[in-house]
């Protein structure tokens, strides 16, 4: 039997980037807020102290900071003819667990998505007509344009101390910045990062081919910084232990030392760690959330009543909780009806490995999570993609995120995987190789979705979420087209050898690709195609709001946390309006 607790005005599930932002912003209302986080409390000191945090085996291989799948996981299949089986160990993506969420161990690449990414349906139909859409593709708009989100992108960039170079200030294109970005009102708060030799080679090669290279927007501090909330950041020392690690310097923006302590300092905010939310409880009409049920570290069950509930548990867990709680109608791919689980998407990768002579030194271990040179010439909104036979595109870059040797040991194709010849090749190439990579967009499809698994249950007895996903021809064409561009860039660098990496035949849950899971509870203006209205409020249960990348109707050729943070900040404003006059913020 659950112990029923004193009601709070607002219950927030999850304390990563979005939960932290919402807790901090809504604390200003003075209302009582309870935040429930399934993982442990964590702080820079002692949890991420030097030199112990520079441990590749513990953090990058054994996933110390990430979701423990022995407790909660999901099942996966490529299509509905297969039987989904559990993800028995982490692989393709690495969700977070503990205070700060995945924002502790992210890289810090902090994009604004392109205007096209917010309104692809409108823009595609305007340019190419409705017939351009391939069979099964469910392209749709957010109901929030880039321009509407611009002030929140700006706010998130200043919160995070992003370093970069503007390419479009108020409509004025600036060489050296990203000339394809949407118009911004002001420049980044910090200058761009110091580039590596790999970045320099990319820049020169891309320029020689007529492209528009620019330094990637980075939440790894390029100088010490104090954000508008008064939070101090250290300066990045390019340690190369960034992606999958906590930062010992507070040089990588993370909720655990920015928004979360600010929220925690408020009397009206109570944070409970080791509190794993099982479900949201609705009233008998299924129109109102009344409470959430959670388990503490000892497995005791509690019921926490609340005036409203915010799901901030990461894209995948948010959708899982909605399905378990009956918030919104589950999507059915056969009939195409229902909305929860609809338009789940991922990204598609391709590119080229570029091998140099022994006189060219990359020093791959000097790097930072978000250090990269990029071009957006072939990203979603930037070029005539339909002429090439597909919808979408991708960001091309040469990242210098660190060259830790368990994970980074580039050798040319044809090299054996072990033995003396293998060893010789590793020694020969470790310091003399770079990658040109495409991070490709993936659109929503009728057959790619999330629902509850009929067979498998987690440690707590709840059905696991089932992921049904595979790459479609449209995306494979895109990834192959962009792989050719990556090869051209590699060749223009004067390399000894360029090895092309084409589109994957099928999506696999095994190798790490990115923690850029999107969709499943998407924003939109049409309640038959979206689970959320444009204010991040669920259409069916108006006192439940949902954050995170599950809100995106399709995936872009860019990392998600820029728009995730911006949307969370916007949701905070929408919720403040809602609290004054509870009810649907958009007409149903």
């Amino acid at each position: 039997m659950a112990t029923k607790l004193k009601a709070a005005d607002i219950v927030i599930v999850g304390l990563g980037w979005t939960g932290g932002i919402l807790a901090k912003e809504l604390a200003e209302t003075g209302l009582s807020i309870v935040v429930l986080e399934r993982g442990k409390p964590r702080d820079t000191n002692p949890d991420f102290a030097y030199p112990h945090v520079h441990d590749e085996l513990k953090y990058a291989q054994r996933h110390e900071l990430m979701q423990d799948v022995s407790r909660e996981t999901l099942t996966f299949r490529n299509n509905s003819n297969e039987t989904a089986l559990p993800m028995r160990q982490l692989g393709s993506f690495l969700p977070g667990e503990g205070v700060g969420g995945a924002g502790v161990h992210w890289n810090g690449v902090t994009w604004r998505w392109l205007p096209w990414d917010h309104e692809p349906e409108k823009m595609t139909i305007a340019r190419y007509g409705k017939s351009a859409l391939p069979e099964g593709m469910q392209l749709q708009d957010w109901g929030v344009s880039y321009d509407e989100l611009e002030p929140y992108y700006d706010k998130f960039e200043y919160l995070c101390g992003v370093g970069g170079k503007a390419g479009n200030l108020g409509g004025k294109k600036i060489d050296g910045g990203n000339v394809f970005e949407g118009a911004r009102k002001r420049d980044y708060p910090n200058p761009p990062m110091i580039q590596t030799h790999a970045g320099d080679l990319f820049e020169k090669a891309a320029r020689s081919l007529g492209y528009h290279p620019f330094p990637g927007p980075s939440a790894n501090m390029t100088q010490s910084y104090i954000n508008p909330d008064g939070v101090a950041f250290g300066s990045c020392h390019y340690c190369g232990y960034c992606e999958r690690f906590g930062c010992e310097m507070n040089a990588k923006a993370s909720a655990h030392f920015t928004v979360i302590p600010l929220a925690a300092a408020k009397k009206n905010v109570e944070i409970r760690t080791d509190s794993r939310v099982m479900k949201v409880n609705l009233d008998s009409s299924n129109k109102r959330a009344e409470s959430v049920t959670y388990l503490d570290a000892a497995g005791r069950e509690f019921e926490q009543p609340g005036g409203m509930v915010i799901l901030a548990a990461y894209a995948l867990s948010n959708v899982h909780l909605m399905l378990l709680s009956g918030i919104g109608k589950p999507y059915n791919p056969t009939t195409g009806t229902g909305v929860v689980g609809r338009n789940y998407a991922y990204q598609i990768g391709s590119g080229a490995n570029v091998f140099f002579d022994e006189k060219t030194w990359m020093n791959p271990f000097m790097g930072a999570g978000a250090l990269a040179m990029n071009i957006d010439d072939f990203n979603t909104g930037s070029f005539d993609h339909l002429k090439e036979g597909f919808i979408g595109g991708g960001g091309i870059s040469t990242p210098s995120a660190g060259g830790r040797p368990i994970g980074f040991r580039p050798v040319p194709p044809g090299t054996p995987g072990w033995g003396t010849d293998w060893k010789r090749a590793v020694v020969r190439h470790y310091n003399h190789t770079l990658a040109v990579v495409n991070q490709g967009s993936v659109m929503g499809y009728r057959q790619n979705y999330l629902d509850l698994d009929p067979t498998y249950r987690d440690r707590y007895g709840r059905p696991l979420m089932r992921m049904t996903f595979d790459y479609q021809q449209n995306e494979q064409k895109q990834a192959n087209y962009l792989a050719d561009i990556c090869v051209n860039i590699g060749n223009a660098m004067g390399a000894e050898r360029v090895a092309r990496r084409g589109a994957p035949q099928r999506y696999s849950i095994v190798p790490y690709q990115s923690t850029h899971n999107t969709g499943g509870a998407v924003l939109g203006t049409d309640p038959t195609r979206s689970a959320l209205n444009p204010f991040s409020q669920t259409w069916d249960v108006s006192n439940v709001f949902v954050t995170g990348a599950c809100s995106f109707p399709q995936n872009a050729g860019k990392n998600p946390t820029g728009p995730v943070g911006a949307l969370a900040l916007r949701a905070a404003d929408s919720i403040k309006r809602y609290l004054k006059n509870p009810g649907p913020l958009a007409p149903v």
Binding site: Y50, P51, H52, H54, D55, E56, L57, Q61, R62, H63, V69, S70, F76, N78, E82, T83, A84, L85, P86, M87, R88, Q89, L90, G91, I194, T196, H197, D200, S235, C236, H237, Y238, C239, G240, T360, W361, N363, F365, M366, R404, P405, I406, R409, G417, W418, G419, T420, K423, R424, V427, Y430, N431, T455, R457, D458, R459, Y507, S508, I509, V510
Partner: protein, 252 residues
């Protein structure tokens, strides 16, 4: 040991001039219990098989905790085949990889602490990943037994570690290609985890028992746990960065 005791102990050690290097996990030249030469000599019984314990030259950290002596001999021979000692750099055995694997398997990783091991179990597609009900420690135990049974059957009654060095490589290639006949598990499941853990031990920080003396890092030109390049990133752009690699222990 309480925190308080820990603090005192460290202070005392400092006071008498012993650094943590002398009491922690060995990163010095002490070889694992099975030496390279022993591992490479065909048909030799591993030292553990002797009724008397070997001479106590080894640090406690060099003792196998999980593998039985015959299993240790097999894994040592496997590692020695995957990463032989040669003119390029350290062999996997001298780098401590068998001990690394053993200690990983003896701990939480070996027990599958972060794996979802609820049934039902079914064979999936390659895209669905690992689906056996075995955590790593059990996978090794079953895999080693299958490997040796297959070797005995197809290779003149010899276990893997009893094969001449050249034949080990041939057997391992068959294993990698999935052509070895295993009685209980798919051979590639065993090969994959063996290769993965071998690479982990070879390249990980020496605090885990492999990569002794940072020698593997030195071989490829990786500075290890240092990670302070704010000044150097510009200074050494397109230049060789020569520095003695440092482990977490060296920096602690």
């Amino acid at each position: 040991m309480s925190d308080h005791e820990g603090m005192r102990r460290r202070d005392v050690l400092k006071g008498i001039g012993i650094t943590s290097a002398a009491v922690g996990i060995a990163t010095t030249a002490a070889p694992p219990v099975l030496t390279e030469a022993q591992a490479q000599t065909p048909a030799q019984e591993p030292p553990h098989a002797h009724p008397h314990p070997p001479e106590r030259h080894a640090d406690a950290a060099d003792i196998f905790r999980y593998f039985t002596p015959p299993e240790a001999a097999t894994v040592t021979a496997l590692v020695d085949t995957l990463i032989p000692k040669d003119d390029v750099g350290p062999g996997g055995v001298e780098a401590g990889v068998p001990i690394f694997i053993d200690h990983e398997l003896a701990g939480a990783y070996g027990r599958g602490a972060r794996m979802f091991l609820n049934g039902p179990f079914a064979q999936g597609t390659p895209q669905q990943g690992y689906q056996l009900p075995l955590p790593p420690a059990d996978l090794y135990r079953v895999g080693i037994a299958d490997l040796n049974a297959w070797c005995v059957k197809t290779r003149d009654g010899k276990r893997f570690d009893q094969l001449p060095v050249a034949d080990r490589a041939v057997a391992l290639k068959a294993l990698e290609a999935g052509q070895a006949e295993f009685a209980q598990i798919p051979p590639r499941a065993f090969f994959n985890i063996l290769l993965q853990n071998t690479m982990e031990g070879y390249f990980a920080d020496p605090i885990y028992g492999g990569n002794r003396n940072n020698a593997v890092w030195a071989m490829i030109g990786f500075p290890g746990a240092i990670g302070m390049y704010e000044e150097d990133i510009e200074k050494y752009r397109n230049k060789q960065y020569v520095v003695a690699p440092k482990s977490i222990q060296d920096l602690s």
